[in-house]
Symmetry: C2
Subunit: 307 residues, 2 copies
């Protein structure tokens, strides 16, 4: 039996999964990232955790096909370098693949985190079998990944998929990226909380889940906020599917836990604004939850080996 | 020597080009479409024109590799059927490939017109050698075609590339597609003329070229309209390149004859609003002019034969 390691490297935690070659999860651990302790500290900690994980199952190193990383970027998947990371202070042009493969003696592969999650949902989750798919992850920010013509799409500099910075309102509120009115400012968890606070004029709303729970209790303002969030996303998705004529949009991230309360107004807006036949698209919830990135990173190891 | 026929089927005219297998144009003719005379009339006229064109050069039918069509749609490239055409009244589920190949005895291939033009600009024009490219055609409306990962991108139902219906202002003016605020309503020739008429409060502006010529003469309002057109396009392009991280945007269609007067504000807006590294994109004018579709349709014959 052969094995694969999938790693989801985040600003707060690192998830490490041990999979068999059928991509069944055997065991996983979560570490604290402790980004302030520097690159070498965290990559050493991840490397020794990987080695412990396979040792604890009495797996020989030569039976591990590879370690796949999903990491924030910008990064270079071919060179295996993380250029920099807003969430990992002080990381600059880190040759992650070189460092981890040398520390572990196992082939290592690097992918953008949102792309890894998109790939996971495509191979093992909601997107199985489709050819053209957008994965949208609605969390603190908004991320995205694209499967086009049955392949993960990277773009020129591995920077494709910045769904959060598709512009909804050209004269809208200022975004951290330097532009104005990006969809992330409205439909991320942060955007939902901001809009709810403005509408409710209250400080009891602290998370987007509070808005969702208030909407479940038929609070009209909260219901409106959730419906409007779906409408905003629907507008952006209509533009994207008019351009890309996708088969499916898969919605993940914490905000997607609102389920049909969010998906219904998204679909309604797409029907209203997208063109025929592009509007005949499936919009569904992601299946893999927070494991999508770790699973996708493992899937990508198989993909890269077979190329 | 082998030969190829490229056909650009438009609502008003049909351009037919005879190419050698190095894609050098040998001869071309332009017919009036006369769409009101029905499907059979125009397809018979095109077929006999193709046969006359090769006969006049003493070319044997067996040396013609194929006839490529660029046509408005929606259409099905694999089945060779045009579902319907806003510009070709009464055309409904026309099996163009079957009809033309039977009338001519030559293998026939069908592609969306904007895609054919994008392919032409990519293979023989401004986009030579790039991997990921958007071709934007700014005419009466706005069309588009995408080259992704070094291939013409079709999407699920051959409907990808509807750049004109990417939404600029969600609460903007009503578009023919049923949505509101599509970029086509602002930055097409029609949109430019409408905005200029509103701003100048005059009826002397009849075409977008008039606006361009007035801007050349330093008319401030016309200069503003042209600059704003570039800015509007730049906003939409920023969203697209944040999502697709393209190498290049190639701008064609009549409006692109304004050249740098249009391209400069587009580039400025992209620098201002797109993310790094996606904003490092080339934005250049198309090279092939109105022949892009005919040339691209011919290129696609070679491409399909070699698949």
């Amino acid at each position: 039996m052969k094995y694969i390691i999938g790693v989801d490297l985040g600003g707060t935690t690192v998830s490490i999964g041990l999979f068999n070659s059928d991509l069944k999860l055997i065991n996983s651990i979560v570490l604290s990232t402790e980004a302030h302790k520097g690159v070498d500290y965290i990559l050493s900690k991840i490397s020794s955790s990987v080695l412990n994980l396979i040792k604890s199952r009495k797996i020989s190193k030569k039976d591990v096909l590879g370690i796949g990383f999903g990491s924030p970027g910008p990064l270079d998947t071919k060179k295996g370098i993380i250029h920099f990371c807003p969430n990992l202070k002080g990381w600059k042009n880190v040759p992650l693949v070189k460092i981890v493969s040398s520390k572990t003696g196992i082939s290592t592969y690097l992918e953008n985190d949102a792309n890894a999650a998109a790939y996971g949902e495509w191979r093992m989750g909601s997107g199985k079998g489709v050819c053209n798919m957008l994965f949208a992850t609605l969390g603190t920010g908004i991320g995205g990944g694209l499967i086009l013509n049955g392949e993960l799409y990277h773009g020129k500099d591995d920077a494709a998929g910045e769904l959060g910075h598709v512009i909804l309102f050209p004269d809208g509120i200022k975004c951290g990226c330097g532009s104005k009115g990006c969809i992330e400012m409205y439909a991320s968890a942060t955007g939902i909380v901001r809009r709810a606070k403005e509408a409710l004029n209250t400080s009891t709303i602290l998370t987007s889940k509070d808005v969702y729970l208030a909407a479940l209790k038929k609070n009209k303002i909260a219901l409106n906020i959730m419906e409007e969030t779906g409408r905003f996303l629907g507008i952006v998705f209509s533009s994207i599917i008019n351009l890309l004529n996708l088969d499916m949009i898969v919605i993940g991230g914490n905000v997607s836990n609102a389920g049909e309360m969010l998906l219904k107004p998204i679909r309604k807006e797409i029907i209203r604004t997208a063109m025929y036949p592009a509007k005949n698209i499936k919009v569904i919830k992601a299946k893999l939850g927070p494991n999508a990135g770790m699973i996708g990173a493992a899937c990508l190891v198989l993909d890269r080996i077979n190329k």
